[in-house]
Symmetry: C2
Subunit: 456 residues, 2 copies
Amino acid sequence: MSISDTEFLKRLSDIVGSNGVIEDPARGPGPIARPRSTEDVSAIMKLCTEFSCPVVTVGGNTGLVMGTQRDGSELALSMELMREIEEIDVHSRTMTVQAGAVLQTVQETAEAHGFLYPLDLGGRGTATIGGNISTNAGGNRVIRYGMTRDQIISLEMVLADGTIIPMQGKSIKNNTGYDLKHLAIGGEGTLGVVTRAILRMRNFPISQNCAWVGVNDWESLTKLLRFMDAESSGTLSSFEVMWKEYYEAMTGDSTPYAPPVPHEYPFYVLIELQGSNQERDQARFEEIIVQAYESGLVADAAIAQSEAERKTMWGIRDDVTLLFENGFLDTKNMSFYSSDISLAITDMDDFVKEICEELPGADQNSYVFVFGHLGDGNLHVNPCAIGPDRPKSKEMGEIIYRAIRKRGGSISAEHGIGLKRKEYLNWTRSDNEIELMRQVKKVFDPNNLMNPGKIF
Amino acid sequence: MSISDTEFLKRLSDIVGSNGVIEDPARGPGPIARPRSTEDVSAIMKLCTEFSCPVVTVGGNTGLVMGTQRDGSELALSMELMREIEEIDVHSRTMTVQAGAVLQTVQETAEAHGFLYPLDLGGRGTATIGGNISTNAGGNRVIRYGMTRDQIISLEMVLADGTIIPMQGKSIKNNTGYDLKHLAIGGEGTLGVVTRAILRMRNFPISQNCAWVGVNDWESLTKLLRFMDAESSGTLSSFEVMWKEYYEAMTGDSTPYAPPVPHEYPFYVLIELQGSNQERDQARFEEIIVQAYESGLVADAAIAQSEAERKTMWGIRDDVTLLFENGFLDTKNMSFYSSDISLAITDMDDFVKEICEELPGADQNSYVFVFGHLGDGNLHVNPCAIGPDRPKSKEMGEIIYRAIRKRGGSISAEHGIGLKRKEYLNWTRSDNEIELMRQVKKVFDPNNLMNPGKIF
């Protein structure tokens, strides 16, 4: 059928009401259905199955791999009218939400009740819980609290044929058969529509202590991670490493950021601890940093003395787009590739060195910006090549993926596959695995209606 | 075919060698194959597919739900010759093991390298990593470190047709398609044979502080959990609650255990924190316990002053079989049901009260022993009825499961389904979910050869 079939559109608005179906070319081609309830979603999916209409479920559209791209033949199913926070259970420390709830709203609601919803990422003001689930979103606190997968106690899902798979309660323990929710988490909307979820909340941290350190060599860096984790007994919430080139660019003359420590070291780390008592934890944090300095693991250190200093440190880590805005890079004559890979910590130093050597045209007008979540084994390696003889972006990506494949790593640590990385999926997953995935998809979605063409 | 088919047995010993196939009636009926490598397992599975021979993979046999029961028609695949610890990676903090590695060996190997493998349970001296994975084993430290699922970075698995699904590296982050390992974890051996795994290790805790407290009412108990978790900033590793009847039985005159606090309260909790500095953490722990006492959350408390006192506290929590050995219970005239349920913390008090009221013959010769992992939403509710008019065990179990179903809980939090709880699976999982599970099983095991008849 065609998506503009009159009968289909009429029955669609019978389900969601006349203002439940909209068109908005700015958001992509074709109609957008806006259900208000799980029952709406179920009815829509039954209709789409009857009319063989493919469906792309849409959250906040902050994904980075073209996971919700549409070509005009699919119905967009937007969760924008399903944003309700349904319940806070302070005893069970859970929050029940509709999938369209915005991450930041969830974070703020948790905080208002004395809790932390620990997932955090740049798109927090727009990204939805359903989108976070479908991509198994990561972020800056995975080392302590895990990825989205670790925050989801239960979820409700609607299959392609309209079947509602109910939630499984509020307990973190449930060993009754296969844990199917783990397929939907990270499933990129290809198995069904996530409609509601029960989220795990943690206690809101009372103290936050943040430092910026320079490190002399790779061996010290990995030792420092272990040292910090051991000494902070469970309170280490971020250990964000930046390679020299990235740090120097972010704190150079043309940026608003003054360098917290001088430009003298090959590696820099933003370290943050979240605890329960500001005064005591700060004293302890300073003690640990001094110990790290005295034992040579840290070559130089600055401890944030105010919230403003802490924000500056996080800005240097997070504010990546700055590089493309301030004239530092000649973006008109630039090839750029943004990667999100994971590999064993043991292999990282060697991996980055290899990338830097192998990049063609790696001269004074080229850069490899490397930063990432060391404790999670996740790096963002972003090569920029500038000038008329620069290599293509795709070529730079493939140099990275070849080096990753050789080391048994993964081509996507936290962003997912979508359309953008689809052609590389079999570089780090075997054909047998991909075939199993395809067969699993057939169980959930026999007619290939759910986000078809994504992942594989 | 019959499992004693000469051709089948000959080809089996061609794969694993003559002492690779044994019979041992003490371990159940039929032959036991003992592979030495993943390749052996793959060859055995190809052979079993050719001969349509069902397979029951066997680890340490410490499961509690008859998950490896055999009837003589299946081949037992024992992992007892695949116990190797293959690698410790101190930088990535991972351990790579064969599935037959014994939990305690893994714990001790980790400790020898300064790490903690946090999963811990009574069967540690026999239980294998493969068995832990297949049952998604829990235990006493889930509140801090999670279940087995949370310790498994990668696993290798052999499917029914011999296909080897390889491991996925050492990084905790990998968003490349469906995360299929989460089906094998908790899959009870019905989807394939787990042959190797990469385990996540944590820093070995330098300090341990343990207390036993009495609590006056349910409200205080749930507040105490939140208070302890918040004040201990991430170091709370156990919060084990016991109801009055269990505590009094375990610390009565006929047991070796003196009660750490008097028999005056409805609830008791064993609280343990694991940190990085014994002196400092102990002072802080005592401070927190005093605060809890002063604010009324705790009515009485004893802090372990030695490893011996700590062991006594854990004995009272763990040494359940004592009740059946010391003449305290008339086990000859007793019905007993051991359950492992989970539900929202909010519903627990009411749930236990209902069970105690509804149990038929709940007179002075009957007991309901309740203890469990409050923070995980997991209780073990174990009714004993003594005397000629006692109800059947099954009847007691169904009273528990009815009360759980009503509250949206789960009939198995950590033990699994196996054969023992199979008839109750659909009490808390919907028919749609069970049908999905069956279809997923067909993808992995189209001829139903892997542990057939277990779970559903």
